[in-house]
Symmetry: C2
Subunit: 336 residues, 2 copies
DNA sequence: CTGAAAGCGCTAACAG
DNA sequence: CTGTTAGCGCTTTCAG
């Protein structure tokens, strides 16, 4: 049904090599032959079969994208930026949602290998990169990481200094006079734990002793199934926290609701600061003060690095660190 | 570098046909041969090359997903559900973000064709499906639509009755005593226009004459670049609207901000109802009352239909209509 | 039960 | 400038 290069060759009265040459602008072809081929192509509405082409060229023009959760605006934005950059360079994105599940991650890696993707962009995920390292070694596969630690692997990486970001957030609250600051995290990723370190550092720098009760872990998916009784308890105590630093915006917004349920107002009663600066932070009330992570640029940069690698540039050891940036909105105010 | 079926065959001391047979569980193979092959496979860490396999089997186990904007939570949820369903059936998702751009859509279609995807799932988009129809005819490509009109094409479709959804929203506001109800839409898609029809129908049923001033169009991407002066003007008038029906949640949340800027409280001063029921509607304050569209199920169902088609089932003419459902939260209250 | 052979649609030397 | 030849890695008749 679909026409092949042979059909075009036949109709144009040339050999398929010639057809291939004009379609790929390789070698040189006489004007007449070129014209005939182009005409035949149009007549047959011929488009080359990339599968066949890939088999010989050993490049599928396809890149795998590993992402923890597409429903999370942070990651959907990352995918959006990555896909856009890939497309602009002729690559297609094979998107794989790992559900934060390491087993699935490994399975996907295998599938991506079988599909002969030209490389893999890894967005976020746990710190266990061993399966990825094995994969890279086994398949000799270019791998670039965004927002996920690469340890000693020297694999290309783009991210931010999360310790610094954590300090930025905490210092802002401290400057507003807050002293009992709750840090709410899932501690699922190194990024989050680093933010926690920044939090502790900031407090320590002001001579505030760490209080384990104020470093609490809630599940990563809390925004889907909310049962945050531990937090509620904390705010029913005598000396309740006056501010919250949430390890990401989704958690911060979830806490908006928790506070509301127990009759506490964000900003008026409790200041909140988030992390990431996802789009919706502007749409909530009060608008969320947060530490911005330029995820779209990070993802774009990561893709650029992967593309450079595919073009043959040496990328091992490359690391790009972007700047976290405090975005002041209305959710954090001076302590009463 | 990567081992091939020949390497396995050699190591196992059999022909590559036999290797192929055990790997695909086709034909019959002696237990010894099977064992030898499996052992060799493990030893070489062999994984079949799907590109080569696809070339002969004429199936890439790959499905294209056309989506208008991954950053929109409505669509990222749709992609999430689609990808999940595909993966569970061994298919991979080639995700294509069209940026609501018809030209890009056509380009993507061509790329997907060249990649020999087994089918395409179309999520949302404009009503102009001609390029898709041509593509389907040309490439004989299975195509399923989610949340996008298919006109007379009889292509498989899953969606909701948007007129009905629009009435649901409008009637709820009417029941709360509202009479000056603003409908804010981009009217970019038929879905939105249908909601507008539902709005008009509902008003008409109560004998309320349509007021063109209260049917206003704002850009689809208003949540990114907000300049909603027309809305502001409307609310500075004497008899301002007491309620807003926004054609989707993102617009509703944007209007939260607009109202706030001009000192009007959502629910207290102006009731708002949205459409879609995206995840964040729960996280804003007040939580958004909206008409839920079961996008995850819709997307899953659409994928199931596409998969059924790929298995050879007759799908032309199939249409699945799901139910829009009013989700009452706090953003709409009785008129003062 | 198994191997040899042909071929999927395309690219890439290699002669001419 | 162009056609012929030989595969890319795999599946699939078809004999045996």
């Amino acid at each position: 049904l679909r026409s092949t290069i042979n059909d075009v060759a036949k109709l144009a009265g040339v050999s398929k090599s010639t057809v291939s040459r004009v379609l790929n602008n390789s070698g040189s072809v006489s004007p007449q032959a070129r014209e005939a081929v182009l005409k035949a192509q149009r007549a047959l509405n011929y488009h080359p079969n990339r599968v066949a082409r890939s088999l010989v060229s050993r490049s599928t023009m396809t890149i795998g994208v590993l992402v923890p959760d597409l429903r999370n605006p942070f990651y959907s934005t990352a995918c959006w930026a990555a896909e856009k950059e890939m497309r602009q360079h002729g690559y297609s994105a094979l998107i794989c949602n790992t559900d934060n599940n390491p087993d699935l991650e490994s399975k996907y890696l295998q599938v991506l290998g079988e599909h002969q993707v030209d490389g893999v962009l890894v967005l976020g995920g746990s710190d266990n990169i061993n399966p990825l390292l094995n994969f890279k070694a086994r398949e000799n596969m270019p791998l670039v990481f965004v927002d996920r630690p690469v340890l000693e692997s020297r694999l290309p990486w783009v991210g931010i200094d999360n310790v610094r970001g954590g300090m930025l957030a905490s210092e802002y609250l401290l400057d507003l006079g807050h002293r009992r600051i709750l840090f709410a995290t899932s501690d699922f990723t190194k990024a989050e734990r680093d933010r926690g370190i920044g939090y502790k550092n900031a407090l320590a720098a002001r001579g505030i002793a760490p209080n384990p009760d104020l470093y609490i872990t809630i599940e990563e998916d809390c925004w889907k199934r909310q049962n945050l009784s531990q937090i509620v308890k904390l705010f029913n105590r005598e000396a309740r926290p006056t501010a919250i630093f949430a390890s990401n915006d989704l958690k911060a917004l979830t806490l908006y609701n928790v506070l509301k349920e127990i009759g506490l107002g964000v900003s008026s009663d409790v200041s909140i600061i988030g992390f990431d600066n996802i789009d919706v932070t502007n749409l909530v009330s009060p608008p969320l003060t947060t530490v911005a992570q330029p995820i779209a640029e990070m993802s774009k940069k990561g893709t650029e690095m992967l593309l450079a690698w595919l073009k043959g540039e040496e990328m091992i050891g490359q690391a790009v660190e972007m700047e976290p940036r405090l975005v002041v909105r209305k959710s954090a105010t001076a302590v009463a």
